[in-house]
């Protein structure tokens, strides 16, 4: 029995190997599976799947930043993300106030400033943080003053971008008072001025000032009881990651990687369940014949007369199902797929003499159906399964697109829904719109390649309706 199966598999493989598109599909499938297995390794944000909607997990990224590699195609380079550690530390303690001074060197080589610069540390005590940036040309711009009082070790996060407006405006006023004052302070971009050369009209035209910027954080601690640990500066680049970020600062590559397993799960589970149901249904219908057959065919007709996706949408809107319920609901409509073909194959098998023989020696109906008829349909079932995977994935994506997705998972459809509702199309944020849809299409293509290849081998003459 096992040997027989092995032989059959070998035979199948030697045929399958010849269909080039099928092999390409298989390679893609293997890549997707590897992506699922090595998700923690290839994702820069390994918890992306679980904390996709947790904004604190993403807060150190830039908003709507294009992918890093876009720098290769532009003449004006964007600043990349980096983390600065090991600052020059300077501590003075006069007994009443302890003053800790950290100085980070940031080497700015790009043409466009970073999205944000964030100082982070774990701290305890009553602390006043004063941050300033010393530019390569010697100008010092003070940015923030924050006061914290922690009784136990807490995370401190000071983001400079938003608070840099005052300092930048002052700097611009200092060198070009007339033009600067004609622009309202709210409308300027602090970092754009901070990282540009001093010149006329500097509040509106920016010429990058490259060189080493010193980010200086002075921490005043009255009573000298405070503790500071692990000080670091995170520069969140204006380009970020393999696929950029969305407008909630989420890393899109991580989201895409986290979505692979859900797409596979939804696709494979739905198609496996529904094909199994459909094949059994079709065989039973063919085998029983007569009244039972016509009854089963009427029921089948009712199901195929329903427009599946609209029904799913309304069910989704009314019942707000979880992904598991959604998969079951999809199965309720998807099982009709193989019925027609299976029934016609079943009718042929039924006429075979060995089925007659089995009946004659008194085999039960269940035995004949499951032992003699279903196994013959297994090859067809696999082909049919492969071909129904893409529709399940597209359906889930479409339902998510309407905002009816299960919020506890990260699916490509949901990323696209976010992109659509944030107006990513209008803003040209292609790195947010293209990858998720491309992944859906690629998975669809993968299974289409495999399914059509199997179809070609297994059923050279059989055509579905």
């Amino acid at each position: 029995m096992f040997k027989d199966l092995k032989y059959k598999l070998n035979e199948f493989w030697s045929e399958f190997r010849k269909v080039k598109s099928g092999v390409v599909g298989l390679v893609f499938l293997i890549i997707f599976i590897l992506m699922i297995i090595f998700e923690p390794l290839i994702s820069p944000f390994p918890e992306a799947g679980k904390r996709w909607r947790d904004i604190t997990y993403w807060e150190d990224n830039s908003k709507s930043a294009p992918p890093v590699w876009t720098n290769l195609f532009t003449s004006k380079k964007y600043a990349r993300s980096e983390t600065l550690t090991a600052p020059i530390e300077n501590v003075t303690d006069n007994g009443r106030v302890k003053i800790t001074e950290y100085e980070f060197d940031y080497d700015y080589k790009a043409d466009r400033p970073p999205g944000d610069i964030i100082f982070r540390t774990e701290a305890t005590g009553n602390l006043l943080f004063i941050t300033e940036i010393i530019r390569p040309d010697g100008e010092t711009v003070s940015i923030t003053r924050n006061n914290y009082n922690f009784s136990k070790p807490s995370n401190v996060r000071i983001a400079l971008s938003n608070d840099s407006k005052n300092g930048a405006y002052e700097l611009a006023t200092k060198f070009d008072k007339e033009n600067t004052l004609s622009i309202p302070k709210q409308s300027i971009d602090g970092f754009n001025i901070l990282f540009s050369k001093v010149q006329e009209n500097m509040a509106s035209t920016h010429d990058p000032l490259k060189g080493t910027y010193k980010i200086k954080i002075r921490i005043l601690n009255p009573g000298s009881t405070g503790v500071l640990e692990n000080p670091r500066v995170i520069v969140s680049g204006s380009v970020s990651g393999i696929l950029g970020t969305d407008n909630s600062k989420r890393d899109i590559w991580s989201g895409i990687v986290a979505g692979v397993k859900w797409a596979m799960l939804i696709g494979l589970l739905t198609s496996a369940l529904s094909v199994a149901i459909g094949v059994i249904y079709g065989v039973i219908s063919a085998y029983l014949g007569g009244f039972a057959d016509s009854l089963l065919q009427r029921i089948y007709e009712i199901f195929v007369s329903m427009p599946v996706l609209p029904v799913l949408i309304v069910l989704g809107a009314v019942f707000k199902p979880s992904i598991w319920i959604m998969i079951i609901i999809m199965c309720v409509f998807f099982w009709t797929g193989p019925v027609k073909t299976v029934r016609s194959i079943g009718l042929q098998i039924k006429e075979e003499t060995y089925i007659e023989a089995s009946k004659a020696i008194g085999a039960s109906n269940t035995r004949i159906i499951f032992k003699h008829m279903i196994p013959l349909l297994i090859p067809y079932s696999f082909a049919s399964m492969a071909l129904s995977v893409p529709s399940a994935i597209v359906y889930e994506a479409t339902i998510s697109m309407l905002g009816l997705g299960d919020p506890s998972i990260t699916s490509w459809g949901q990323i696209l829904q976010d992109a659509n509702s944030a107006g990513a199309v209008i803003q040209g944020l292609w790195w947010w719109v293209v990858p998720p849809g491309l992944m859906i299409s690629l998975v669809g293509m993968t299974f289409a390649f495999i399914g059509f290849a199997m179809d070609k081998i297994l059923l050279p003459k059989l055509k579905t309706r």
């Binding site: 009712i302 427009p307 949408i313 597209v394």
Partner: protein
């Protein structure tokens, strides 16, 4: 003979439609009832308010109760569950979908029927245009493929078919808008008219101009499948004995392909094409939303967003109806084109 077949097919479809609506009524009875109760409460509140202004002597509580009673009775809300489901089925089948909770048609009507009636022709225009182009293009390319089966053109188009197999039409729509409307600025990003809307013939041109990009997107995605199916069917027919026989009779290849083969393959090709298009109805609902084409698909989207249950359920009933009409038309075309169709089959 044919009429008998057609009549039978239509009758079966009507019965199936009623059964499906019955199933929907079962599923959505509770949520529809909750919505209806809310709407009745609103109406009664308004009535009580106006009554108490005009007539101070009336017992407000008693009046309220009687009005509620009146509406509950009118909408069969005191009946048993089974009766309620039957009434709901009856109402839906007779296109009596009730009132929307917060959506309105462009003329200001809050009747679900009016809202849907307004959206329906827009959807029909968009998809009919796309379907016609898809079928023509699909058959044409499919024939070319079948003629040189296994050739470079056949293989490459087959691969293309598989590449777009799982591509959501609405995603392609997003990409097309991004590229053609925002990068190249060739077409409008959506909607059905410019603002302000031009009059007369210019109105028509403007409409067509807005139609081009969505239709192009649908066709770009849809015709591959048709070409692939046409190819397979035509190839199958080309291997039939009667084609061989026609060749032996010295009939020119052109007549064999466009006459004998295409005429024989027409019923399954048209069935396949229409069936695949009917099947794509679902994905195309979201597609409309992407292009701000205010048809039935967009209606689903807006109804989901404003949680307007009566509109959703009404829209579903109408979509199902259209879907079934599509299936019936398909069978009727098949029966008409194929002289072999068995009466009563």
């Amino acid at each position: 003979m044919y009429w008998k077949y057609a009549l039978k097919r239509i009758l079966i479809a009507i019965i199936v439609f009623i059964v499906i609506i019955f199933i929907f009524s079962l599923l959505f009875n509770k949520v529809a009832e909750t919505t209806l109760k809310g709407q009745i409460d609103e109406i009664v509140k308004a009535e009580v308010l106006s009554m108490s202004k005009n007539n101070r002597n009336i017992d407000i509580g008693e009046y309220r109760k009687s009005r509620l009673e009146f509406y509950y009775k009118k909408y069969h809300m005191n009946d048993s569950y089974v009766e309620k489901v039957f009434w709901r089925t009856y109402d839906t089948v007779t296109f009596n979908f009730g009132r929307a909770t917060n959506m309105k048609s462009s003329r200001g009507s809050d009747k679900v029927v009016d809202i849907i009636a307004e959206a329906l022709p827009r959807t029909l225009i968009l998809f009919t245009v796309a379907i016609i182009i898809e079928i023509i293009l699909g058959i044409w390319i499919g024939l070319k493929k079948a003629q040189k089966a296994g050739g470079a053109m056949d293989k490459s188009t087959s691969v293309a078919t598989m590449i777009v197999f799982g591509m959501p039409s609405w995603w392609l729509g997003m990409i097309m808008i991004m590229f053609f409307a925002y990068v190249l600025k060739l077409f409008p990003s959506g909607g059905m008219h410019s603002v302000p809307t031009p009059e007369g013939f210019a109105y028509f041109l403007d409409y067509v101009y807005h139609l081009i990009l969505p239709v192009f997107t649908l066709v770009l995605l849809g015709f591959w499948g048709n070409a692939f199916l046409t190819r397979n069917i035509v190839l199958g027919t080309l291997q039939e004995d009667f084609i061989m026989s026609a060749r032996a009779r010295g009939i020119p290849e052109k007549n064999i392909l466009f006459g004998h083969t295409l005429r024989t393959s027409a019923p399954p090709i048209i069935t396949m094409a229409l069936l695949s298009l009917l099947g794509s109805i679902g994905g195309n609902l979201v597609f409309e939303g992407i292009f701000s084409w205010r048809g039935m698909g967009n209606l689903y989207w807006s109804a989901v967003q404003s949680n307007d249950i009566p509109v959703l359920i009404g829209n579903l009933a109408v979509t199902t109806g259209i879907y079934m009409i599509g299936l019936v038309i398909l069978d009727l075309i098949y029966g008409f084109l194929d002289p072999r169709i068995k009466v009563g089959g």
